[in-house]
Amino acid sequence: MSSTGWAWLVLLLPLLGSVSVALSFRAVPARVAGAVGTAAVGAAFLCAVAALLSLLGDDADSRHHASTLWTYAQAGGLEIDLGIYVDQLSVFMMLVVTGVSTLIHLYSFGYMKSDEGYHRFFSYLNFFVFSMLLLVLAGNFVLLIVGWAFVGFASYALISFWYRRTTATGAGMKAFVINVVGDIGLVLAAFLIVRELGSFDYETVFAKAPEVFSQGGWTVTAICLLLLVGAFAKSAQIPFHTWLPDAMEGPTPVSSLIHAATMVTAGVYLIARTNVLFYLAPTAADIAAFVGLATLLIAGTIAIAQTDLKRAIAYSTMSQIGYMIMGVSIGAYSAGLFHLMTHAFFKALLFMTAGSIISAMANRQDIDRMSGFWKAMRFTSIMFVIGGLALAAFPLTSGFFSKDSILSFAEARGGMYAWMAVGGYVGAFLTAIYTFRLIFRVLPGRPCEEAQHLIESGELYHGPPINPATEEEEDTDVGFPGAHHHIAEQSWPMAAAMAVLAFGALFAGLIQVPGVDNVLFGFLDPAFHDSPLAEIHPSVGAEWRGLAIGAVISVLGIALAWFLWVARPELPALFRERLRPVYLLCLNKWYFDEAIELLIVRPALAIGRFANDVFERRVVDGIVDGTKGAVGGAGGIVRVVQSGFVRTYALLLIAGFAGLALYFLVVAS
């Protein structure tokens, strides 16, 4: 079967899984539903591998195929097909998405075990995988937008999964609304594309764009800026990032799949896919790079101050995606995608370990209460350390190679981009600090109450069920979140998934060691051969120099974290006092939520109130009531004739007859 055939199968299997799990909700026991869901995505992964092998069978220059099932719509000279585009980029994304999704499904199989919404969870999760695959496989902008919107819906459904919590539903709505803002940008961009180029189809658009648009022209810059709006909203870059920390209200597998590994990387994929357009609009590309850099640094500073474990990791995600966005904007396409893959491994792993620790803490996420888990949960702790090392780009881990491939490209491009590389190294320092802050707060030291309970009795601590965000008690009569929690040590699916990801986090970087092997870039680079930026290759020496700098920074950061939180634990409190304004700025997330509230939410509400009071009450109601009054008044006037007096009726009758006869007489004469 051709690669496109395998690709259609990859699309079909999660969709079937989602629908069948949803429909069999009452008939089938929970474990079977979980197995079906996991198997569907696992089979999709195998088909993706088959697609890869089939694609490798073509020679390097012709590894791109489009395939259409049928014409979706045909109107006014526009033709929109249900078509996919299979090339190195989409196969790569397919593999990452299905691979990581399979592992997370496996993890959820254990983690969500006692949750009443088990069927619903797996159905939504499968639907998400289908939507993400639709997004990366789409062969035209319309299908891309469809996949984009579906992914947004799946995110909303999964964030507000425990819908009895008002915090969860509020977070879901926030995520959805900000996503819609991005969708608007994307749709407007698609409109401009079809107006200028006459087609939605990728192959046509990317072939015609250099002919129709001049370098740096207005239209193409506008298109790219609108695409960026969509990309930033989906990938949680500033200023559209406020939804991501709140999205941690969803169950941990959701956080690890959607908000770490896959959905938030959609923006990176978009920029990489439309690289032809971005090359024609260097201004937009530079803006994207700056936004990526800014997000990278700001999110890093916020992460240092956070006390909620999942939110800290969320800000870390934001920061790492800043790296990826910066990478693909300056032309380091393959490097950005390399980091996407390694980030998927170690970030998903980090979220999984966080889930395990939170389960042991009876659903509490506050790191101020956590300590001493090294003694209580050895396996989870080791996984945590491995993920942390990869995130902090410790030498020879996967994060080490991928992060520095972006930064050495930036240096090689020179000029202002070299300064961006400096910013990237500063960000790497911050990353190492905040990552190991988490590790050194949670793992070493005297075990906290929950950890002690686990060590002594081998059973999980049972606290009253609370909402971790608001610390208020909630009733779990509805069955979710489940009254029982699961940790990796006691649940083999969770442990297996984490182990596979740990392997990837440690060794996945070895496929792209500079000067030694070129597996990934050799595969991906031909997809970007149209772009002159792909010609830039840092020399092997420059790359190793970058790797050395990165190694030093990483070790320094870990050492500083050890110093501050293990050797002299009283120091951080001192810093907080001395640098109180800075601390508050970071703790309060640089006041972005408050700014949006002030600048956008309040005026919108004011407009709404105005529209209601003036327009609705006075104008619309006035018209309606006025019409009603007029009709009623007219009726009142006419009603006078119905007096009930027979003689009046007779009078009118005879008068009418007399009048009619007169008329006929006059006419006849």
Binding site: R639, V641, Q642, S643, G644, F645, V646, R647, A650, L651, I654
Partner: protein, 99 residues
């Protein structure tokens, strides 16, 4: 006498009956004026039948008489029913069917 005399007389009687309906208030008298109008119609019919030369108009007049008789019967029955319920026999008082 030529036929038009009869027709003019018939229209005069018709107008008189119409005026009577508009002026009188007792239901019995209104019914009587209605009889006047019907009879005026009968006169016209018979006159036209004489003018045409066949008796079809007279058959028509006969049927009108039958209808008039039925209408009188029902009308007087109504009046009796009204009287029995001790309501005033005055069309200006019986005004409940109004808007």
């Amino acid at each position: 006498m030529s036929i038009e005399w009869y027709i003019v007389l018939s229209s005069l009687l018709f107008a008189t009956g119409a005026m009577g309906i508009l002026l009188r208030r007792s239901p019995i008298v209104i019914l009587l004026c209605l009889e006047l109008m019907l009879n005026a119609g009968n006169l016209a019919l018979v006159a036209f039948s004489r003018m045409v030369g066949n008796e079809e108009g007279q058959v028509f007049a006969l049927v009108v008489m039958v209808v008039a008789a039925c209408e009188v019967v029902v009308g007087l029955g109504l009046i009796v029913a009204i009287f029995r319920r001790k309501l005033p026999l005055d069309v200006d008082e019986l005004t409940e069917l109004r808007g």
